[in-house]
Amino acid sequence: MNHENPQFILFGIGFNPSNILMLFVTCLIVFLIAVASTRRLQMKPTGMQNFMEWVMDFVKGIIKNNMDWKTGGRFHVLGITLIMFVFVANMIGLPFAIVWDHQLWWKSPTADPVITLTLAATVVALTHYYGVKQLGMGKYLKSYFQPIPFLAPLKIIEEFANTLTLGLRLYGNIFAGEILIGLLATLGASSIFGLAGAVIPALAWLGFSVFIGAIQAFIFVMLTMVYMAHKVSTDH
């Protein structure tokens, strides 16, 4: 498990090619799934179209739980893309990890805090953007002093805390899952007894990781919409 991340520097900015690769693969898979399931759209849906429509309705339900559909409808595309992206990113590191020359190349992109925090920060930035857009700058700023003015510092801290918790929750769950899978795989590869001992926990943990990956994708989108509703709804 003591491997490093590959890195190169371009224009004075550091890049992690492993992250780039995995992000690209994730995007590709999501895109292929989405496009393949919406190729032959029918009034009476069959097969993959059913699944995609279920995902859409699922995200729609999440949004409707948090806000009026009239204001929430514009976040539908964001929500579906986010849930598909995070779910596929969580799943992609489960079957195997590739370490090349002591450098970890194949893993979940969401097992990297930079990526999860970037997603979280993007989401929180979007909530502020739409908050200002929906309410106007005056109301948006005023919302920090409501309901009680002296809690304003806490409300500002809350924004940063939201970003951190949103990103680190996802990162922690997926990273921990991959660490344990890696440990079990190492144990299984060590000897015949190690294999015998590791096979059942590894299977159990893989199943659990699938569950966690799905749950985390759901939670990420759910919290995105909760934060969004906090900012854009007028009745608070």
């Binding site: 550091g14 780039i20 690209f24 895109f31 399931s37 759209l41 009034m43 893309t81």
Partner: protein, 182 residues
């Protein structure tokens, strides 16, 4: 994180980016945002947009179908009511027709019976009359014959010619007496 900031404060300007690169891949942030945005835009164009369109179309289709079903249901209820009224009218008129026919038949039968009875009476009376006349005639004829026979017989028995006038009166009187006796 803390020693990053310590390091940053140490060589503030020159090594800022370089030292940050040691800790944080700024490029990953850019790549993540760019990739995610591209993915979202592409999916909106190629997958979510058309899918949402189809789902909206379906929702509209279902709404119109429901409306049409409601309309046709009302239409059929109206037609059913009309048919029911028509059927009721037809039944009533049929009943009245049957009653009329029955009534007409009754009167006709009465008339027929009356006519037949009158005819029979008339025929009976005429027959009686005829029989009476015939009888009268027959009696008269027999009487005449009898008279002439009696005269013949009497003239033969007496052997003498008496005035036929007297004889006749005498015999007729006798016959009348005999007829009363009979």
């Amino acid at each position: 994180m803390l020693d990053t900031f310590v390091l940053l404060s140490a060589n503030a300007d020159a090594g800022f980016l370089a030292s940050l690169n040691q800790r944080l891949n700024l490029g990953d942030i850019i790549v993540t945002v760019v990739f995610f945005t591209i993915l979202m835009v592409l999916l909106k164009k190629f997958a979510w947009g058309p899918l949402m369109g189809v789902m909206d179309q379906r929702a509209q289709l279902i709404a119109t179908e429901i409306e049409q079903a409601e309309a046709s249901r009302q239409e059929s209820a109206k037609l059913l009511e009309e048919q029911r009224v028509l059927l009721k009218e037809a039944r009533e008129s049929a009943q009245s027709i049957v009653e009329n026919a029955k009534k007409q038949g009754d009167t006709q039968r009465e008339e027929l019976i009356m006519a037949a009875r009158a005819e029979a009476n008339r025929m009976k009376e005429s027959a009686t009359l005829e029989i009476a006349t015939e009888k009268e005639k027959a009696v008269a004829a027999v009487r005449e014959e009898f008279v002439s026979l009696s005269i013949l017989a009497a003239s033969k028995v007496l052997g003498k010619e008496i005035s036929e006038e007297d004889n006749r009166a005498l015999i007729e009187e006798t016959i009348v007496k005999a007829g009363e006796g009979r």
